[in-house]
Symmetry: C2
Subunit: 407 residues, 2 copies
Amino acid sequence: MSLARTMEGLMAGNSVIRKMFEMGQEMAKNYGKDQVYDFSLGNPVAPVPYEVKNAIISLLENQDPHEIHGYMKNAGFDDVRTQVAEHLNSRFGQNYHKDNILLCAGAAGGLNILMRCLLDEEDEVLCFAPYFTEYKSYVSHYKGKLAVVPMRADDFSLNLDAAERMIRQRTKAVILNNPNNPSGIIYSEEELLLLTKMLKEAEERVGHPIYLICDEPYRELAYDGREVPYLPNLYRNSIYLYSFSKTLSIPGERIGYMAISDAVEDGELLMQAAIITGRTLGFVNAPSLFQKVIGQCLDVKIDLGFYDRNRKLLYTELTEMGFTCVPPQGAFYLLVKSPLEDTESFVKLAEKQHIILVPTDGFGLPGYFRLAYCVPYEKIEASLPAFRALAEDCRNWESEKEAEEER
Amino acid sequence: MSLARTMEGLMAGNSVIRKMFEMGQEMAKNYGKDQVYDFSLGNPVAPVPYEVKNAIISLLENQDPHEIHGYMKNAGFDDVRTQVAEHLNSRFGQNYHKDNILLCAGAAGGLNILMRCLLDEEDEVLCFAPYFTEYKSYVSHYKGKLAVVPMRADDFSLNLDAAERMIRQRTKAVILNNPNNPSGIIYSEEELLLLTKMLKEAEERVGHPIYLICDEPYRELAYDGREVPYLPNLYRNSIYLYSFSKTLSIPGERIGYMAISDAVEDGELLMQAAIITGRTLGFVNAPSLFQKVIGQCLDVKIDLGFYDRNRKLLYTELTEMGFTCVPPQGAFYLLVKSPLEDTESFVKLAEKQHIILVPTDGFGLPGYFRLAYCVPYEKIEASLPAFRALAEDCRNWESEKEAEEER
């Protein structure tokens, strides 16, 4: 074998999201884009705020091209790091300064940097099911272990009893994704206070910091006026990760940041390590022009209504059709329970209706499907007859199966 | 220790280039930018070609923002991959097609992706001294070993005898950086034919492919009409890595590509692995706007004269002052031999003259210093008196030392 043996697992577990996305692309070629209802990929379609284009043009017109396209300190432009720190301070009452901020290639880049910094072979990272499926790979690159806290049956709250039992000496960190992909749940302050209390006790027990990695690319997508609690205010050893992919609809540009406050145990050392790791993992620095762009767009608000309309329409209609859905509170994902026990047959029936959904087995949640409703509203409207037919097909499939079993 | 134990080595060996760069910044603050001659960092200062700005503005004006800032296939935009393939075909007579091309975050991003794809624990990668110091980290992230082929004394040609002896069963790849950083040498076709002949024989001996990773961010910086041979034309199992950092003076933007031709053994598998690895290492995709930009700038030529003038002035003047320099053929680095046996004292004498050089011990080349002459011409002119004083200081230092020894 020419490749590393350890690539086998990685390739076998290749993202089902991407597979479904590519199937959708294929279908669109065969049947026409209008005839395919692709809910596979979290590709933001809310308008890119005009401030993004304005910022780019103003940077091109007014600044030295060597400054905006050139190398800077590996941690990012100092002025932008200061802007990010001040933004977080004014919004969440923190005391960040520029040296607490690392500009990185989205939250995914930041997570890889952290895994490299924290994990020796066999070290563990905890996360809660359902979880973003890529965490497994992020951890395995550095030979760590992702320990997935199982859900209580059909209960999307944090299973803290199980988590507490699973924390051991080798547990270096917990990743929490809030709002959650794929469930669309927002963990409440009450729940997070219980989590952080448990973690503080666990830290005393194991005698070293257990970093709480706050993976929050969906922070701005919180509906019905819900608040997403700022975890660094609740737990000292929090490492905050943010991405502008969803807020500014620029996921291709790979821009986000990591914030490690002075309160974090060994925080300064960890920041130094993260800067060096970011460079040596080949990121070198976050893309430079977009560092400057987000510096000018920190207060730009997303048009939340854009996704909220989709959320309401899809949830209401699917529920009415008889599908069981998890009420979505944040992000742009809707979880639908498979109406059939045999989920593979459900995928096939959906495909027959040209509906592309992502099974969430890989997210630690078998029996469910994720719909990314970051699509044009008209697309959802147009998909409703297909969903209705799918509901009907499912009922027929069940009764045919029953009839077959009776024979 | 909160951090991974394996971070200790990485942090201890933190880039001396960056350390010197930051020292230069500090000095500039204290003495004024004009009074500091900083040759530490390979930060391209040739003008950013106007085509870059034009491409960005035309993309912003004419294309759907969701297309230019959004997700695409992890390998990159299909149209840009096709453009890159066609560019390489017309230039080097290859037969690339889009599926041979992966757009990645510069050559550094591509190298990390390849190391993850190829290396199990203890697998080896060969490189030739002097070598780009970051290779060590790229390999160690995935628990591989960098085996450095030593130089023959003061001979900057490839030490093929030693290389041949060092290739073993666990050797997965050889990295060759041409033009070379830090030496400024361009390996000739004759030399490379000997290398590839040796590698083909070694492949037969070990019974598996030994990939030749062609790390060529400096390809366009070849002076005096020298040609940089295209290695994939000489060796089947070549993996070609390119970056636009130097060609377009946009190193902050992190954009480059990897090309794996159909001829490469297990090449299709390797490309698949690279795409998945790029995603899961947290790159996700190369920055999207700049994918489109380089698609429009593939034939843009750098103003080579910009660096060539610097090269000639610096080489001529330093040689006249009595410094021993390696005649620079490519890239924008000049190697100067330490006039003192005690290199630390030389660094201190240089500092006294506000000259910032990088010792090349970390590049596998003790006793030398790297000058990155990618600075304004006027800077080099202004630095000459300081170099003259340094040469004088070195002579005094030697004679004082002799006098001391006689006492």
